[in-house]
């Protein structure tokens, strides 16, 4: 007790108290990670390595942007990984059906985004209409989507016959890979939606206290529903970027573990799992932190099997740090 009081009253304690951990914690962590990484490896700061990290995180990063809305509204979506595989398989089917040309690619993108949004809408419908817990619903649909993908592809690989399709996911624009551009643009748009529109405000209100929101004439069911549609649409985009990079979708493992990475990015980014508040910039930072950690482990030659351990520790650590002030002692 005495020691605790001393730490609190010392200058260090005061400084730590003044920093708004919830707000700037993820950013500070990112800066620290950057500094440590550049000392640890001379290759880290090379343009190619940075670009590479950004590309690696873009697939789950895009989903994490949509996931941010769902988590702020007090929900969760575990089905995004399997949905990525299912929607990707559908997109390639459409692509091949229309011959793989430019128009076929456009059709595939459209179908992917719509199919992703529909998958999200189905989750949202069950959650809001029949009031089943989001965790349960999306746990169920996670299994359903994966199984449908296996069925459609006969547990094999769905290959694209298009030559140009790979350009979508492999291409560069102004020195950055296309997926990275899409992630950044989407982040900018979602940031505006979250902080400057009625929908964004309502999402926070619903997640903060649904009953208050309902009394304030907010249509809480719809607000939550749109969140699942939104994350579904981001799944659609990711499925295009992923399938075009591989020029195929492997039904058994495409998108597997994406739910973990997306949710982790949101949580590391300072969004509380109990909902109510969060930020898109935070989620982006969360995704980058995960990317850098993976990158550093690779460069330092740590066994890839251990990467999951580190990832898990980062997630738990992030939550503990953010809780900071409201820590267990009070």
């Amino acid at each position: 007790m005495k020691l605790l009081e001393q730490v609190r009253s010392s200058g260090l304690g005061e400084l730590a108290k003044k920093i708004e951990w919830e707000k700037y914690g993820p950013f500070i962590a990112l800066v620290v990670l950057f500094i440590v990484s550049s000392f640890a490896s001379p290759y880290f700061f090379q343009v190619r390595n940075i670009t590479n990290i950004l590309r690696q995180i873009s697939y789950t990063g895009i989903i994490a942007l949509g996931m941010t809305f769902v988590i702020i509204s007090g929900g969760i979506d575990l089905s995004v990984g399997s949905a990525t595989a299912l929607v990707g398989a559908l997109a390639i089917t459409v692509l091949n059906y229309f011959g793989g040309g430019g128009l076929a690619i456009a059709a595939a993108i459209l179908v992917a985004v719509l199919a992703g949004a529909t998958a999200g809408a189905l989750n949202g419908l069950v959650i809001t209409r029949w009031r089943v817990a989001p965790f349960i619903v999306t746990l169920g649909s996670m299994s359903i989507f994966r199984s449908l993908t296996l069925f459609l592809t006969n547990a094999g690989v769905m290959r694209s016959t298009s030559v140009q399709y790979q350009q979508v996911g492999m291409g560069y624009f102004l020195g950055l890979p296309n997926p990275v551009w899409i992630m950044l643009i989407l982040a900018a748009v979602f940031h505006v939606v979250l902080f400057h529109t009625r929908y964004g405000r309502y999402v926070c209100a619903v997640g903060s206290n649904e009953r208050v929101a309902a009394y304030a004439a907010i249509k809480t069911a719809w607000i939550k529903f749109y969140g699942y549609v939104l994350v579904g649409a981001t799944v659609g985009l990711t499925s295009i970027l992923l399938s075009s990079r591989m020029n195929s979708i492997a039904s058994t493992n495409a998108g597997s573990g994406y739910e973990l990475d997306a949710i982790a990015a949101v949580i590391i980014g300072g969004t509380s799992l109990s909902g109510g508040s969060g930020s898109i910039v935070g989620t982006l930072i969360g995704a980058v932190i995960l990317g850098i950690v993976n990158n550093m482990l690779n460069m330092m030659g740590v066994s890839p099997y251990l990467q999951g351990t580190v990832k898990g520790l980062v997630i738990i650590g992030a939550v503990l740090i953010q809780r900071g002030r409201k820590g267990a002692f009070q």
């Binding site: 400057h196 529109t197 209100a205 903060s208 208050v212 009394y215 109510g276």
Partner: protein, 500 residues
């Protein structure tokens, strides 16, 4: 009666340099009921938190039974200090006796629970308290008053010598309050000392032996209750001569603003009919659970009606959701402030504009316009906040309530339903809220005023409907509005309204 149980010497408490309690020197006697009154932020809660060991004093010392004690929650418990918190601290799916002995279970050999002994002791306690609670009843199924009995049983189960009660009557009906007071008197006879904190000055006068007044953390006075009347208590709390608590009553027009006919909700409301005149403050009195809140919630579309018609300014309206109610210009100030009125994690501005955000947004929210509007409410309602960006969790109850009021008012209503607008807020904020309501009525807004505080209904309304078990039990007007008449109708002692 003259022996001292607790003595504080220069007791003080600061939080990072800001003193919230200064130099308190009092003696609390054995077997007395010691009242503490003061506005929000006066230091009442801090004082009791020092006594039950939640906080450590910054200065001064506490003597218990003549010996200096260094209190912590465990020490307090051991020497017999227990607190009945404002919010109940019960595990709702456990049984009454399990709650009473939670954490201090009787055990047999091998550490197995001795349920038999706990049940027996629990029923002894209930008997001693003359409370009608079965030890095996699940807390979920108990009424609010019964839950409080369980809390009290929990507090006295281990030979309590000092019982601290923080606003125990906020959630109780007048009858339940009577039972509680009986119980307090019995405990007092058994030699238990009780510290009683309340905003309700009338109750303080009824039950307390001596009353300490705190203001801004300072000791103001300590007198036998006989030497104080309500008016004097209020003056001392506020620190200046108070003008009348209630503003002059409004004179409603003849025009009917809202007409409710045969409104029914299965099990809750049974053919409720009434009308509200333009510029009227119509009171709704009744016991807890009599259907007043349910009636309001049905009118604003939170609950589904099974039958009945609602007419606004003569035309029939189909209100199915709170947004329909807003479209028909009906505003509702919910009874449960934290659970339905405000978002504690949102700042002042976004709370005020929560129901009316449409006004401030096309594609994007116009933050400047939002801030300007919030500023005008903060000024006109005298909302005390460091800034418009301060989160509501940092505001006092009274100021939170004003924000909730501003939120409902910003939807531009012509009919305003206030459900317990003064619950748990200090006298100054109460007076302000009465004046706001009065000012709204002057602007031609028609108001429904629901309150469990009889004196408020009597002081504010010129017509009062009394509800009982989901029905309107009777209507009282002008001189008929007295506590006796209201209670007669509310409890059903006589059927129908008084003869006119």
């Amino acid at each position: 009666m003259t022996e001292t149980l607790v003595r504080t010497e220069s007791l003080a408490k600061d939080f990072s340099g800001v003193y919230v309690l200064n130099d308190i020197n009092v003696e609390i006697l054995k077997g007395e009921i010691f009242g503490i009154i003061g506005e929000n932020g006066a230091g009442k809660s801090t004082f009791i938190k020092l006594l039950n060991g939640t906080h450590l004093p910054s200065d001064g010392r506490i003597l218990f039974d003549g010996e200096e004690v260094h209190l912590s929650p465990t020490v307090s418990k051991r020497i017999g200090i227990s607190t009945i918190p404002q919010e109940f601290n019960l595990v709702s799916h456990l049984k009454a006796y399990e709650n009473i002995f939670l954490g201090q279970e009787f055990r047999r050999q091998l550490g197995l629970l001795d349920r038999k002994r706990m049940r027996r002791r629990a029923s002894e306690l209930m008997e001693q308290l003359q409370a009608d609670v079965v030890p095996d009843a699940e807390v979920n199924d108990l009424s609010v008053a019964e839950k409080q009995m369980v809390e009290i049983a929990k507090a006295v189960a281990f030979n309590s010598r000092l019982l601290i009660m923080d606003e125990p009557t906020t959630v109780l009906t007048p009858i339940e309050i009577g039972v509680l007071f009986e119980l307090m008197r019995r405990l007092k006879e058994q030699g238990v000392t009780i510290i009683y904190i309340s905003h309700k000055l009338k109750e303080v006068q009824q039950i307390c032996d001596r009353v300490m007044v705190l203001r801004d953390g300072d000791f103001i006075s300590l007198d036998p209750v006989e030497n104080l009347d309500e008016h004097e208590m209020a003056n001392r709390m506020v620190g200046r001569e108070m003008t009348q608590i209630f503003p002059e009553k409004a004179c409603p027009g003849e025009e009917i603003a809202l007409e409710v006919e045969n409104l029914s909700v299965p099990g809750l409301l049974h053919s409720v009919s009434f009308s509200l005149r333009k510029g009227e403050i119509l009171g709704f009195a009744g016991l807890g659970g009599s259907g007043r809140t349910e009636l309001s919630e049905t009118i604003v579309g939170i609950r589904k009606k099974s039958e009945g018609v609602i007419r606004i300014h003569g035309s029939e309206c189909d209100i199915r959701s709170p947004s329909d109610a807003i479209a028909h210009r009906i505003a509702y100030l919910p009874e449960d402030r934290q659970g339905a009125g405000i978002l504690t994690s949102f700042d002042v501005t976004s709370n005020i504009t929560l129901s009316s955000l449409k006004q401030y947004a096309r594609l994007l929210i116009n933050r400047r316009k939002e801030q300007q509007k919030a500023r005008t409410y903060v000024d006109s309602f005298d909302i005390k906040t460091t800034s418009l960006r301060t989160r509501l969790e940092f505001l006092s109850g009274g100021n939170q309530q004003k924000v909730s009021l501003a939120k409902s008012l910003d939807t531009d209503p012509s009919i305003f339903i206030f459900d317990e607008p003064t619950r748990g807020i200090d006298i100054n904020a109460k007076m302000q809220i009465f004046r706001f309501i009065r000012a709204l009525v002057d602007e031609g807004i028609s108001c429904i005023f629901i309150s469990s505080e009889l004196e408020e209904v009597i002081g504010v309304c010129s017509r009062v409907l009394v509800m009982r078990e989901g029905r309107i039990a009777g209507t009282l007007e002008d001189e008929q509005i007295t506590e006796e008449e209201i209670m007669k109708l509310a409890t059903g002692v006589i059927e129908g309204g008084p003869q006119t």
